[in-house]
């Protein structure tokens, strides 16, 4: 056995490779003899660093080559070369071409955007300045603990709302893949770069995608994100019919874990329950066959024991102080579905679209914390009569209008949407609140993203200023509210937001009276 590799000390060397997709097309890359080494690939920069050439170290078989070819041609076109394609470009780092040098296959991959490299990095020192923002930096409580010497600088962390927006983007990226029948197969904080500052996320390592009808790549995923059924059957032969492979539902497990980790900075399955006295076996069982949600409502056997954990894991490791219910009712129900009902029953796992909608609806429940020193800055309304920030304990001052959305079930009968909008000063109202036919997703037009009005606390009372609603009506006082006028927001009032098809009624409740 020898790992002796050829090594040239002759300095920088620009090499050229040819596309195997487009005859005559070539790419240059800089070979200084020491490529960046990924799990399976050696990566070289193009001369202007706008792309990289990533060569597989191992020879790729026919199936793998066909899979990669499809990714850079057919799937590339269907994702990006159509209306709305630019939005998706920001969600992935998708290979654009395939090259070959001798018997080695390589991919041309765009370089990551500059937002995905640390501007400051650590609070103290330059240790990771300029390095990639791999997701784990933001998914672990340690790196945000104020006494931890290797913590990230505050300017890198964003606030709690940033992570909801990041999770929305990850969910959208996964949703689009699944809509095309693809599965990522290795979603993890290693393969999703995030930037809390610009609230962006991008899915990388696309080349592991499982393409329908072609053999899956031989990976089971990254520790922490592998679905329990994949771990529980990984000892079986690859062709054994009982062996569970990565697919759409294993992606959905990984997605749920990722969302939980980015919002709560702890792992949903890593608790204190010991399933075997052998460390390796215990780990396999605890994440596989015997996996159990640490916050399971009726089985407390896998609760986190704070005394056994690292002090840097606090306060997030404390599931009593910061239970998953702080993420609000919509996400609570999805976490239950993912980590209780669907943990060992893949088909019950919530799909990416459901996560996206629940995350978006939850942002409508969020309130800014009035404590300027609060680390999280935002929190989800806890549905109590005396609401407070779960992170710093600061109570909301003054009254708090709660708007419940209703849709017309049949003439004169309105039913609740299970969608609530919490008002705060200078909160905007949008088309997707007004009309149930307008879905808040990546396909919104520029015009639909313009606010239709705003709420403000004015002369000691809450008002809504109507900017764009042509048929806004105060049903309680039976009065039209013309454009550029305002209406008082008071307890028990009903407003018709639009008389068009799909137009909603909001019912106002004043909390914290």
């Amino acid at each position: 056995m020898s790992f002796l590799t050829k090594f040239s000390n002759s300095g920088t060397n620009i090499k050229t490779v040819s596309s195997i997709i487009t005859p005559g097309k070539t790419y240059q890359y800089v070979d200084n003899g020491e490529p960046m080494r990924g799990g399976m690939k050696d990566v070289y920069f193009g001369p202007d660093k706008s792309y990289v050439v990533a060569f597989y170290r191992d020879k790729q078989d026919y199936n793998s080559r066909e899979r990669l070819k499809k990714l850079v041609t057919q799937y590339y076109d269907s994702f990006f070369n159509r209306e709305g394609g630019d939005y998706y470009k920001s969600l992935y780092c998708w290979p654009t071409d395939m090259v070959e040098l001798d018997d080695k296959v390589g991919l041309i991959v765009p370089a990551y955007k500059k937002d995905f490299f640390f501007k400051k990095g650590y609070a103290n020192g330059d240790g990771i300045k300029g390095k990639e923002k791999q997701g784990l930096w933001f998914a672990s409580s340690k790196f945000r603990h104020k006494q931890f010497s290797l913590r990230l600088d505050e300017t890198e962390l964003g606030n709690w709302l940033s992570y909801f927006q990041i999770c929305v983007k990850i969910a959208r990226g996964v949703k689009r893949l699944h809509a095309a029948g693809l599965a990522h197969s290795d979603l993890s904080y290693k393969n999703v770069l995030i930037d809390p500052v610009s609230k962006a996320a991008t899915i990388i390592d696309i080349d592991g995608l499982v393409v329908p009808g072609l053999y899956p790549p031989d990976v089971i995923g990254t520790a922490d994100f592998i679905a329990p059924e994949v771990l529980a059957t990984k000892h079986l032969d690859i062709r054994d019919p009982n062996r569970k492979h990565t697919n759409r539902t294993t992606d959905l497990h990984a997605l749920a874990v990722m969302i939980y980790m980015y919002l709560l900075y702890r792992h949903p399955l890593k608790g204190s329950k010991v399933n075997s006295l052998d460390t390796e076996k215990d780990d396999l069982l605890s994440m596989g066959e015997k996996a159990l949600f640490i916050e399971h409502p009726t089985d407390p056997s896998n609760r986190v024991k704070l005394a056994q954990g690292s002090k840097w894991a606090l306060p997030w490791a404390d599931t009593i102080k910061l239970p998953y219910t702080i993420t609000g009712p919509y996400l609570k129900s999805l976490f239950d579905q993912a980590f209780i009902a669907g943990l060992h029953d893949p088909n019950l796992r919530p799909n990416a679209d459901t996560w996206e909608q629940a995350l978006l609806k939850t942002t409508d429940l969020m309130q800014p914390c009035s404590n300027k020193q609060c680390d999280q800055k935002w929190f989800v309304f806890d549905n109590t009569t005396s609401p407070k920030c779960p992170f710093c304990g600061t109570h909301i001052k003054g009254t708090l209008p709660v708007l419940d959305l209703y849709y017309q079930f049949k003439p004169t009968v309105w039913k609740p949407e299970n969608h609530r909008l919490m008002v705060y000063n200078n909160q905007y109202l949008f088309q997707w609140h007004v009309n149930r036919n307008i879905i808040r997703n990546e396909r919104l037009t520029a015009e639909q993203k313009v606010p239709v009005g705003y709420f403000t606390f004015h002369n000691d009372k809450w008002v809504f200023v109507n900017q764009k609603l042509g048929s806004l009506k105060d049903l309680t006082e039976n009065k039209e509210i013309p454009l550029n006028t305002m209406v008082d927001i008071t307890d028990g009032k009903k407003l018709l937001l639009s008389d068009e098809e799909g137009g909603r009624v909001v019912m106002i409740t004043m909390a914290n009276k």
């Binding site: 240790g127 592998i226 990984k234 390796e280 056994q308």
Partner: protein, 212 residues
């Protein structure tokens, strides 16, 4: 959180005087700062340094990457590799937590041994002790022509050799050690897969020769 214990056994005998010992000190520093760029390693890896010359000493107990501080080491005396193997065995007993019914234990330790000479003590009795401990893997590095790779083969099947014990080669070795820790801290939890043998590690840089 399970810890990944890493023990570095470094030869500080007289023959390491000068460039080699400086290179080792520098290598440890570079290794620590490189590991501090890896969030997985910061989450799991704990490092301990054991030096051996006429005696073996644990100069840094098992310490997390954030708190790790290198101490000054000097090259002097003979090469008590056997004592070092005994000492690392005791340290593993004392420092590496076993899984019990109540508490999850640590991962099996990684052990890296670097020496530039022939042991001067009864190294077989040390080896006997060491063999009783379970490690994820042990790598021995024969630095320069004075070391006996075949002797090290009796300690572990994973032996690498540096042609010369100069600063460049030693630096490469530490780069490789940090890459190995990085890979292992990521992979170790991967399905409870046993990390054994060098197939799991990144290929060493070209100056290292793997002794087979």
């Amino acid at each position: 959180m399970r810890r990944l214990p890493v023990y570095l056994l470094l030869d500080t005998s007289g023959s390491m005087t000068g460039e080699p010992i400086e290179a080792v000190k520098n290598g440890v520093q570079v290794m620590i700062s490189s590991l501090r760029q890896n969030p997985q390693a910061i989450e799991t890896a704990f490092i301990s340094i054991i030096t051996f010359d006429s005696v073996a000493k644990q100069v840094v107990p098992l310490t997390d990457l954030a708190s790790f501080q290198m101490v000054d080491i000097k090259a002097t005396g003979t090469t008590c590799l056997g004592e070092a193997l005994k000492l690392v065995s005791t340290c593993i007993d004392n420092e590496v937590a076993k899984t019990t019914a109540e508490q999850k234990g640590d991962w099996k330790p990684l052990v890296f041994i670097m020496t530039d000479g022939i042991p001067t003590d009864d190294w077989q009795s040390g080896l006997e002790e060491f063999k009783k401990r379970k490690t994820a893997f042990t790598v021995a590095c024969a630095a320069g022509s004075g070391a006996d790779a075949n002797l090290l083969k009796q300690i572990t099947e994973n032996v690498v050799s540096l042609d010369t014990a100069d600063s460049q080669s030693i630096a490469k070795f530490f780069t490789w050690v940090s890459a190995s820790i990085g890979v292992t801290s990521t992979k170790v939890e991967d399905a409870g897969k046993e990390v054994t043998g060098m197939g799991e590690l990144p290929p060493p840089p070209s100056e290292l020769n793997i002794v087979t």
